[in-house]
Every structure is written in C-alpha cells, then in structure tokens.
C-alpha cells in the first residue's frame, strides 16, 4: 500500500471521527442551550420579581400580575399538587394493567404477544395527544358525569384515566423488554423445582425484572408529567387545590399551555410560567437520574455484585 492512499485513509479516519465527535458535542450543546434558555427565562420570577423559592414551591396563592411591574403572588403549589396527583393516579391505574399486559405478552402467550399484542400496544403510543384529549372530552367526561352522577365530569379522575391510557404503552413495552431479558435458565430452574407458572412469574421473573420495570414506570411518569394538551381538555382547569379525585384543578403543563400565549412578554405572569417550565425540566432531569439509578442497580444485580 503506498503512502498517499494510506495518508488519505487516515486523514479520512480523522475527519469522520471528528464529525462523529462534533455530533456528540452538538447534542450536548443543544441540551445545555435549552437548559440555559429555561434558566434565563425562569429565573426572573426570583431575581427580577423577588419571589422566594419557598413561596414558589410551597404557596397556593397564585395571582401574578400580567405586567412588568410585579407585586403579585407566584405560588405554584396548586399546579405542582395537580401534576403530582394526576400523574400519581395515572400510574396507579396504568401500572397494574401495563404489568399484566407485559406479562401476558411475554410469559403467557408469547407468540400472540409478539405478533399482535406488542404492535397494537405500540400503536397506542403513536396516537397524537390531541386525539386522546378530544376523545377524553367527548366520551370519558360525559361517562364520568353519568356514572358517578356528578354535575361536572371534568376531574382529576378523567385526567388520570386519559394519562393512564397514554402512558400504558410506555410502561408495557419497557417492562416487557425487562421481562424478556430475564434468562430462561431462571424460569427452567423454577419449573424444575415444581413451581406453577404464576409462582415462577411472581417469585422469580418479576423480582429479577424489577429494575427494568421501575425504569418503565418512571419513563411513563415522565411522559405523564410533560403532557399538556390532552390533560387541559379534561381536567376542568380550576385554580384551587383539589379536594377529591372528582375535583377540578390545574397542572403545571396545563397552566403553561393556556397562559403562555396570552401573557405579556417580560411580565410577572410570564416569568412565573417560565419558572414552571424550568421546574418541568428539572423534574425530567430528576426522573432520568432515577432511571439511571435503577438500571445501574439492575446491572449490579445481573453481575452479581462481586465488587
């Protein structure tokens, strides 16, 4: 091989490598810029309008004025509570079903599961959230109104159900992957000891797949937390702390979606909304950290914790 082509070869090697590194750097830069953008926008509430972090997180008084003068109250507790309660409810509803489905498609009927059930579940994930919201408003809300004999069908319950349907595919497919990753040898050993299928699933498969399942649940939670349009249509936005699952309330995202467009640029209200967007960003970071924690735990388990 002569030297010029060799040079060309290695030159290319470095060039391509450089491009790959650049793309990696680009992703980092993009994330940092988005983060910086949110911090820049969201810090005004505290720096320019002088609200304390404690007020923002712990107070339910929400009267930011829609002008640059400030002087209102910017307590986001109602929205934080609303987000937590609806997402919690969604998880409570979705997790058993999702886990059941994941087990069905891996342990009970693997052939049907892989061929039909998984694709169907993934289609659930691809349905645009606007469509979910509209079906929720026109089908679910009247249903709740009639079944529970309430005057208003909009409620945390409705939002929780809509979100549950939305996050169901995420939890199901991540859990199914985790269950599939449990070595078959474990199942054989359990059957060999005379376990029934349910005993095998309950005592061996689920504990072994637990870190992956928890990651799936957190991933679902993150999706629920960030959802705006579908929730805003069915939660019956009321600026008040919820009293029961039939209460109407607001979440972080619904308030951002409904006020951001109208709020005055540079005003107190808009800054407070940006602070809420920043909070969402930080919460998603928290979720990611948790997922990492659990996947590492899963890895440690699989490697036997020799260390």
């Amino acid at each position: 091989m002569n030297t010029t082509t060799q040079k060309g070869m290695f030159g290319k090697e470095y060039a391509w490598r450089g491009i790959a590194v650049l793309c990696g750097l680009f992703v980092i830069a993009l994330t940092l810029v988005i983060g910086a953008f949110l911090i820049y926008k969201g810090s005004d509430t505290f720096l320019k309008f002088g609200h304390t972090l404690w007020e923002f997180l712990g107070s339910a008084k929400w009267h930011p004025v829609d002008s640059a003068e400030g002087g209102g109250a910017a307590g986001a507790l109602i929205f934080i509570t609303g987000s937590l309660v609806t997402c919690g409810l969604a998880l409570l509803i979705a997790t058993p079903f999702a886990l059941g489905s994941a087990i069905f498609m891996t342990e009970i009927s693997a052939r049907f599961g892989e061929k039909f059930y998984r694709p169907v579940v993934e289609i659930f994930a691809g349905i645009p959230s606007v469509v979910y919201g509209w079906v929720g408003l026109t089908v679910l809300v009247p249903f709740i109104r009639n079944v529970f004999d309430r005057q208003v069908g909009h409620s945390i319950l409705a939002a929780g159900i809509v979100l549950a349907v939305m996050i169901f595919p995420t939890i199901t497919s991540v859990s199914a992957d985790a269950i599939l990753a449990v070595p078959d040898a474990c199942r054989k050993a359990a059957y060999g000891l005379g376990s029934t299928r349910w005993q095998t699933i309950r005592h061996i498969v689920i504990p072994a797949a637990a870190p992956g399942i928890i990651s799936g649940i957190i991933l679902g939670l993150a999706r629920a937390f960030g959802e705006a349009l579908a929730v805003s249509m069915v939660i019956g936005q009321t600026t008040a702390l919820p009293k029961s699952i039939f209460s109407t309330t607001k979440t972080l995202t619904t308030e951002i979606a409904s006020q951001m467009g109208n709020a005055m640029e540079g005003g107190e209200l808009k800054s407070a909304l940006w602070s809420m967007a920043l909070l969402l960003f930080l919460v998603s970071l928290l979720f990611i950290t948790l997922i990492h924690y659990f996947t590492n735990k899963g890895k440690a388990k699989a490697e036997g914790g020799k260390a």
Partner: protein, 312 residues
Amino acid sequence: MKKKIIAMTLSAVMAIGLFTGCGQTGESEAPAETQAAESGAQNETQAAQDEKELSGTITAAGSSALKPLADDAANAFAELYPDVAITIDAGGSGEGLKQVADGTVDIGNSDVEAAEKLDEAQAAELVDHQVCVITMAPIVNPDVAEAGVTDLSKEELIGIFTGEITNWSEVGGPDESIVLITRPTSSGTRATFQKYALDGNEEASNASMETDDSGVLLQNVRDTKGAIGYVALSYLVDDPGVATVAIDGVEPTLENTYNGTYPVWTFEHMYTKGEPNEVVGAFLEYIMSDEYGAQMETLGYGVSSKMTTTEH
C-alpha cells in the same frame, strides 16, 4: 386558458425575482411588478394582471376570538389574489402582539390594546387597525334557560362570577349548583368580559373551570348542567346548543351593540409593525371594506363604522 397563462407568467416572474418570495412580503412587491412589466405579457393578460398582481405572504397570529373572521377574510381574499399566501394562527392576544413586535408575523391580532401587553417602546412601533367589533355574550346550559333564567341583572352576574351566588335558585332558576366556565386570566375575552360585564370585579378563579379556548368552553357549557360561561357572538351563529342571557334586559345582539345599549363589546385590533406593506395593506383594507362588512355580520362580528358610540 387565461388562468394558465397568468400562472405561467407569474411563475416566470417569481423565478427571476429570486429570494423575493421567501423573504418577508415587504421586498417582494417591487421586483415582481417591474418584472411583470418587462416580461411584456399580452394585453389581455396584462389587464387581468392589474387585478391579480398582488403576490407575497401574509402571516398573522394572536387572538383566538378574531381567528374565525381572519380565516374567512383570508379565504375570500385568496380567491381574489391567488398568489397571496395567508397564514392565520391563534395563540392568544399576547402572543400575537409579541410576534408582530418581534417581526415574526405581519399582523398581530389582539382583543386588547397593545400597550396592555407590551412595553411602551414596543407598543409605540405598532400601528393599530380596528377591524371590527366583537360582542361577548353570557351563555348558559339550555336547562338553566328552560327553567326561566334568560335575563340577569348586572349585580346578579357579578354575584355569580365572583362566587357569591352559587345556586341558580338564588336568581330565580332551578335548585342546581352554578358551574362557572371561564377563560384563563390572561385571555382577552376574559379581560373584556370582566371589564364591561362585571364592572372590573375579579372572577373567582378558585371556583371556576378555565378553558384554553372558546370552542372548548362552548362544548363544556353545552355538556354541563347548570353551567354558565361567555363567548363572542361569532361562536353562536350556527346553532350552538347553548342559550344566551340578556344583561339588565338587553339581549346580546349586534344591533344592541351598535346602538350602545349592550355594554360588553370591544374593538378587535390588527396591529402591524409600522405602516403595512402593500399586500398586508390591501388585506386590511379588504377586511374593513363595506362589501366584506356584510359577510362579517353573518359571522357574528360587528362592523366598526356602524358603531354609534366608540366609548363604553
């Protein structure tokens, strides 16, 4: 045939005037015209072209209350000038004003004056075009109206929206809880309603359901027994399945708005940054023309020039 020739001529024009189409409309006019003249089109097409030479884009964003009108006007305008691409976005009055001030859209639609949402320097750059009058009506679920609540005094209305009156029986209706359905605090519709129907009294946020837009509000009032809310008349022209309520005996109609007896109305504004360019100017002129005025009324908007009073 004729159309085809025009289309071909214009395509040629556009091809030569590179970059003109994709930029803002401002630059696209002059070259298009000169090119058209130079292209030496035949006389008959030239004549047609006088009428249809406008070309460019118009982008507008803002008030959702104004959007149906703007859409309709845009369609009619586009029939006349097929080379003008018009985009109307909702997003809210604040967003419309911000975007027009940023220069990202040509027209900012707003329910409120620019000064309320922008700082002084920005607001001063904008030129106001009061394209129409919009009238807000209180609406209730049909069950409330059927039970006899068709007229509320201002005091009753204030009592209801501030959360002091919580049962319809207190205002002569059925024994049923009142469900308040309103708009977010930053909404222009809400600001107008609050200012002129509630005399500035703050709505009870903690007892009402807010909806992001008038369409969903309407749906909610229609579906919820004992519900009361408010929308612009434009949402009520096709049978909406809700009942309007008179205030102090005055029905919310365009006539009553024109003659000054019904108080809950406001001018709708289309702001431009500086004076509008030719295409945008033509569009604004078209909306405010008499020939479009008739169409405007069938959509439920009031014609600005018919107002006998401009003050509340």
